[in-house]
């Protein structure tokens, strides 16, 4: 009864979200039906790019509204109640000065979408894509759903972000399918690229400063600009929930600023609904592959510059495989908010006066953001290579080809049963899949004498530091592929680790370890705050389904058969555990030392030895530090 009351307490702490609670019984991920893909380059290879770029382009639009001229949009923003309110509030300066300033901000920010530029891109990207990629595959059913949505409600496009190519590809696809071109929120850094920045602006990009903390006027202009476009449905609005390109190829925890902005018109009744469309763009090889590993090891990101871009032309000579773009089902904001958001809370304040969102709203926006990123993850297409990469990383000393093939085949079964979206048709045998994977990534793997091994030896020996750097760089490159599949295994793996950590089979203990681990890794992976019970149930369900554990009323027990699965799962996440085991840095002070942290090996004075190259990743370090600070285990010292 103790355990029962404990479970009751836990579940009462986490009220089941209404809309999703219907899946009280976890759904079977493997049963998910997904659309088929079409290769849009196929036609490009057989017909004129010029004609394609100059063809008649008549997109369907929202409620038949013609897109508005940038000038009209600008005036609408400057004359909006919101801006007038800000102007009347800002004291000290005259309204004219502020209006000037607002106008300047808009000038810097606003897109100047022009069909001519779009046609130029359509032409040149056709050429570039054909040189770079074997295929650009798109799910046409998703395109059709999007076309429907665009006509009904304002649409927000939310692609995953792995590469600079992402938004070019998005616009290219929408142009190809005669859909309204999106306006895209981009970072100001692009404006550093002389002509290119302006070209992007003319193809629909608008530019936001990376940080504008307390600048109320900037915030007002920016949010009003986005909301005006959304309210009037002039064009789909596109931005990256992750905020920046993920250098590790696993999804980044979502940023909420823009999502808040695009939701507000719905909360305030200015639009009937908003369609949020998660889009998953998966690359067989990311263009920035080598750059990312170096960046993670501390080499600063090269500044965006036109000359840099021109130098990057050499990548045109390489083969980057296929791109898959999956347009997910449009999510109705109205349906999500049903029963969650009380819209009448906006009744008592004029709607143009900004106000901090209520706690329930913040929680809702946060949860929605996580849910959308998870939808992106779910529809990421995975190539067999990511399985191979995962296995190779677990065998740093190399593995027999035969064994690798067997393991890959086994892992494929497990991944599919956990719902992975694997691009591995049945007629391709495991040995063939492994062989072709290794062939495409010769830079990362060495195959010799029937064995495969990560290519760690530097091509030309240098200083020990340089060698270490090179080795770490290849591990991180390889890890970026393995990372693509982590979301599939994350929940069962956390359960596996929790079982190991609890050292007993009592469900309550395991749950509390699970909850702890989830908390620790919530900067690292997409784990929605408040979703612990659901995740735990989902993990139990998945591991029960593959007969790895046996879940009883009060106990969770590993089965004999489950050992292989559990040990694979725990070692898959081992690098992260290791990464979080770094000793406290000189600028940190240990303030608390909860029991659970023993397991992770956080020792007050431990000078941890480097056992894992991945621990060198600045991303892991950043996340670990954030987690420790968040959990109040350490405190920053003023140095």
């Amino acid at each position: 009864s103790v355990s029962q009351s404990c479970m009751v307490r836990i579940s009462s702490l986490y009220p089941p979200p209404l809309a999703l609670a219907s899946c009280a019984k976890p759904r079977d991920p493997a049963l998910k039906k997904r659309d088929d893909f079409e290769d849009i380059l196929e036609e490009r290879r057989s017909s004129s790019d010029l004609r394609y770029a100059l063809r008649c382009y008549v997109p369907v639009v929202y409620k038949g509204i013609a897109p508005c001229k940038p000038g009209v949009l600008k005036t609408a923003v400057l004359q909006s109640d919101r801006l007038r309110h800000v102007m009347s509030k800002e004291t000290g300066e005259s309204a004219d000065v502020i209006r000037e300033e607002a106008s300047g901000i808009l000038e810097e920010m606003a897109h100047r979408l022009r069909l001519g530029t779009v046609r130029f891109f359509a032409y040149s990207l056709s050429k570039a894509f054909k040189a770079l990629f074997q295929r650009v595959r798109v799910n046409e059913d998703g395109i059709q759903r999007l076309q429907q949505s665009i006509q009904e409600h304002p649409v927000v496009l939310l692609p995953s972000h792995r590469s600079y190519m992402d938004f070019l590809i998005m616009s290219y696809i929408l142009y190809t399918y005669d859909l309204s071109l999106p306006v895209i929120a981009a970072g100001m850094d692009f404006l550093g690229m002389k002509i290119v920045g302006e070209m992007l602006r003319m193809s629909g990009a608008f530019f936001i400063r990376r940080s504008f903390g307390g600048d109320k006027l900037y915030w007002a202009v920016f949010s009003e600009y986005v909301k005006t476009m959304l309210r009037n449905g002039y064009a789909p609005i596109e931005f990256f929930l992750e905020g920046t390109r993920s250098r590790t190829c696993k999804s980044l925890t979502p940023k909420l600023g823009l999502l808040n902005i695009v939701m507000e018109p719905f909360f305030k009744g200015e639009v009937f609904d908003v369609s949020l469309v998660p889009i998953s763009i998966s690359y067989e090889r990311v263009l920035e592959e080598a750059l990312y590993a170096r960046e993670l090891l501390g080499v600063p990101k090269p500044k965006e510059s036109t000359s840099g871009l021109l130098k990057a032309r050499k990548i045109l000579s390489e083969d980057y495989g296929s791109i898959h773009v999956y347009f997910g089902h449009p999510v109705s904001l109205r349906s999500l908010a049903q029963g969650r958001i009380n819209r009448s809370q906006y009744n008592l304040l004029p709607r143009h006066i900004p106000r901090r969102p209520s706690q329930e709203t913040q929680a809702f926006v946060n949860e929605t953001a996580y849910r959308l990123v998870r939808l992106q993850e779910e529809n990421m297409v995975l190539r067999p290579w990511v399985l191979v990469a995962a296995l190779l990383l677990q065998n740093p000393d190399g593995v027999d080809m035969e064994r690798l093939v067997e393991q890959t085949s086994w892992l494929r079964g497990l991944a599919v049963s956990f719902g992975a979206f694997l691009d591995w048709p049945d007629y391709v045998s495991a040995s063939k899949a492994v062989a072709s994977s290794l062939a495409l990534h010769t830079g990362l793997v060495r195959t010799e004498g029937g064995r495969a091994q990560l290519a760690m030896e530097p091509k030309e020996p240098g200083s020990p530091e340089e060698d270490l750097f090179d080795r770490a760089a290849s591990v991180l490159s390889c890890a970026s592929y393995r990372n693509q599949i982590l979301h599939v295994f994350l929940r069962p793996a956390l359960l596996g680790m929790a079982m190991q950590m609890a050292e007993a089979s009592r469900k309550d203990d395991i749950y509390s370890c699970f909850s702890f681990l989830r908390d620790v890794f919530s900067n690292e992976f997409i784990l929605c705050p408040g979703g612990t019970v659901q995740d735990f149930d989902e993990a139990c369900y998945m591991l029960t389904k593959c007969a790895a554990v046996h879940v009883q009323k009060q106990e969770v027990v590993a089965t004999e058969k489950g050992q292989r699965i559990l040990s694979f799962l725990t070692s898959l996440f081992q690098p992260f555990l290791k990464g979080y085991q770094v000793g406290p840095a000189p600028f940190l002070e240990l303030v608390d030392y909860p029991r659970h942290f023993c397991f992770l090996g956080f020792l007050p004075s431990a000078t941890s030895e480097l056992t894992c190259y991945e621990a060198l990743s600045s991303d892991v370090q950043k996340n670990a530090l954030a987690a420790l600070l968040r959990m109040k285990v350490v405190r920053k010292l003023k140095v």
Binding site: G269, E270, F272, N342, R343, S344, Y346, N347, P350, R351
Partner: protein, 578 residues
Amino acid sequence: MNKCKRIWEVMKWNGWGYSDSRFLFNKKGQAEFTGRRYRLSGMVLPSLKDWFESTFGASLQHKSPATATLNASAVPFPSLNEAFLQDLKSTGIPFSHEAEDRVFRAHGHCLHEIFALREGKFGRVPDLVVWPNCHEDVVKTVDLACRHNVCLIPYGGGTSVSSALECPPDETRCIVSLDTSQMSRILWIDEKNLTAHVEAGIVGQDLERLLNESGYCTGHEPDSMEFSSLGGWVATRASGMKKNVYGNIEDLVVHIKMVCPRGVVEKSCQGPRVSIGPDIHHFIMGSEGTLGVVTEVTIKIRPMPEYQKYGSVVFPNFEQGVACLREVAKQRCAPASIRLMDNAQFQFGHALKPQVSSIFTSFLDGLKKFYITKFKGFDPHHLCVATLLFEGDRERVLQHEKQVYDIAAKFGGLAAGEDNGQRGYMLTFVIAYLRDLGMDYYVIGESFETSVPWDRVLDLCRNVKERIVRECRERGVQFPPLATCRVTQTYDAGACVYFYFAFNYRGLADPVNIYGRVEHAAREEILANGGSLSHHHGVGKLRKHWMPESISDVGIGMLKSVKEYVDPDNIFGSRNLL
């Protein structure tokens, strides 16, 4: 001149209004309005059938007729409080427990109420009907009810659309319907102060007619004024079409007398405005029969207007129309009435055009249409119409008219003639009859209303209509619904919006239930968009679910404490409002 107690002999027992007036499709398939009471009576409406069939996907082949006669044996047997009955007899106040009398007073005009009657189904009905003849009779009746613990439900004109007249099904006491229809005299007219003292049972059309005979009017014209009563207006906080000139009921009443279980409540003077604590009239107005019976009211009167003129303006779209109404309100120059119909309602109004008598009129109509759509470039699927009514002395009306048309012109509005305006207002009186026609052909519908700040009007209209369409689709309604609205009143700080919602229910097992859910969703949408729970229909039992969120828990407590003091034994047990 007392009204007939057997009112169901001239009025429908299972539909709206007079028995002799109804819409039907004649043998040629043309719509016709029977009887001789209305301007439209006896006329043929050639385009109604096409509009009806195309709007609802309905067909004249698919009929859903009502039960023809009231089957008295299906009406629950009255459970009478003998002691009460005994004492009542000794007072000489007339009463009845005939099935027809009781059924007639067991309902208002909500869709579910009428639908059940058409199917010949009866829920809990009053056990007894009493007809007090004057204030003193009411005092005696209430006194007896208290002594014998009998539940009283006041009944005026029976036009409620809030389930206010429905008997609580679990009420075990004897339920007595207190029908005020015999209390319909004008007791005096005070020409110095321009007030009239009137018994509360008088219905609107009688009140106006009688006052008109002396050269006066109240100017209070709710759409239901043919049947609704003065007491009912007070009890529900009614609003009249011409409130811009005459005010709503709260502006019109000078003095109210109400009989409560605790005694009679009234003020001691008729000062035009007082500062003597919270206004007790505001406990009475909107109390919806939960505190007592309004018996007598002193109401403001005005000399009859010298001149009346209808008018109309066509706008290219609804947005422009609303902007114009807002400007008119801002300049405080609204005519007696100004209403803006959306496009769907404009088309609906068009379908009600009677057969034109001469080729010349039809030619003129064609010319007008050509001018507006082709010459002025208005899209017939977006344009909308405002109807206007001006009142006052001739010169000022003409001046006023010019002012309003000038404002309209700034918003792209074109004057569209008196005729269109007048037809718009006629529509309000026949619309309820039209619902009965729809119900003969599988179409059910109703209206509901709200009030909303100006800046929210457009958003609310769009969102509520869209919500209705979406809810219908999600609930399996096979045909797209009619969801249309009009702005019917303007205020300094906002407007009243009126919605019509109807759909074809063929293929649905439980249409009334689905109708109720969609209406519920529409109300949620209204509240979420800054609209009020009601502008003038009241709360009743239909909307009381939202009362706490509308007036806060403390507000509910305030109302409850008044109820507790005034009526501790819940004699007025209609259970409206709270």
